[in-house]
Amino acid sequence: MKFNRKDLLGMRELSREEIQLILDTAIPMKDVIKRDIKKVPTLRGKAMVTVFYENSTRTRTSFEIAGKYLSADTVNLAISSSSVQKGESLRDTIKTIEVMGFDLMVMRHSMSGTPQYVARNTSMSVINAGDGQHEHPTQALLDMYSIRESKGTLEGLKVAIVGDILHSRVARSNIYGLSKFGCEIRVVGPSTLIPPEVERMGVKAYYSMEQALRDVDVINVLRIQRERQEAGLFPSLDEYANMYMLSNRHLKYAKEDVLVLHPGPMNRGVEISSEVAEGSHSVINEQVTNGVAVRMALLFLMMGGSKDEIAG
């Protein structure tokens, strides 16, 4: 199994074997993170840049430290102080970054499809760190890693994704990834936040937590954004919390050893209760560590081989 991609843009395009390779490679990477000396010389002489057009300290830092642990030179392009603010076109910005000699770009953008556009227009490798409401592949990979680590397998698990499915790139990427491992995926949330024809993605849609969570192995809780309420998609955060906040009373519908995930940052008391977030089923903190491991694996797989060969 080789990882022969110039870019990682989404989970939809990845094969089961590629996902498996990334997750397997992340295991020794996690060992490195747990050592006293966390640095390995693997990507010495390689340079990567994180370009975030949407704020996310968490994801950006995770990529940055993953690069540093592997000895790649890592630069963060701070968008607010860059030429983007001066109205430079994205194409020109990318070209400028490219000629500085970076091997790989990690891109976060609020608009769906922008990493695809960038990847088409640059020789650098591009990793999508979340684009609009489309995909967030590294989040799905770290979720899958966390699930596999706890459950021993992904095969055939029942997974519920709770909340704002309509706007969630995390949901989409998880659906693509998990369905390649035969998981039974359910999405649950208010009807206004369930996207049209979502069941054609091979998932089952629910409006009721009780029904959706019955016998599930995993619950992945999505972050709810205040703007959605302002856009009139649900009447109030209180009503949302009353119906969809994951709390201890819901866990009894699920399997006894149910795993609770959340991509963070959490709105406690809105989509998840503190007692669940901190309870024994939660692997929310472990997800963060696993995120670094999975990103190290990706950086290794994408920058570790000879570029000519990968392109060819």
């Binding site: 020794p28 010389p41 570790g304 081989g305 060969e309």
Partner: protein
Amino acid sequence: MGVRDKNTIMDEMAIKRALTRIAHEIIEKNKGVDNVVLIGIRRRGGPLAYRLAERIEAIEGINVPVGILDITLYRDDLTTLASQPLVHRTEVNFNINHKTIVLVDDVLYTGRTVRAAMDALMDLGRPKSIQLAVLVDRGHRELPIKADFIGKNVPTSKQENIAVLVQELDGDDKVIIQEIIGDS
């Protein structure tokens, strides 16, 4: 590029004898094995390290800790390889600080693998010393590295390849000399 087997230079018995001799030499050189740990380099150094530990235990009655080192992340040729090798776990579940480490590998050739292994070990802790045990030394060193314990010296040309087979991974114990055919 392909290879063609030329001849077998060590059979099962020869390997057994070589490992037994190395076990004795390790004990002798270190005046016992109280502070010694064995670390095999993935992949074939691993089984060889475990076998050495068995022999040492048979001789000295002491169970020497064995670890496995994956050096992929420390290789100096990663960016020139056609594709990335698989990364595996390093399994050294003991403290190596102040230990005498005997690094075990199947073949010593350019020395680059051993260099990577020493770097990897240094990131795991601060051993007292590192010694090197190999089943075959085939020459052609590119770095100033020398083995402390050698099963067999085999002069080779660069057009040849040494293949070490071990029961645990290959279902057979032998060392073969192969000819590299075609463009390399």
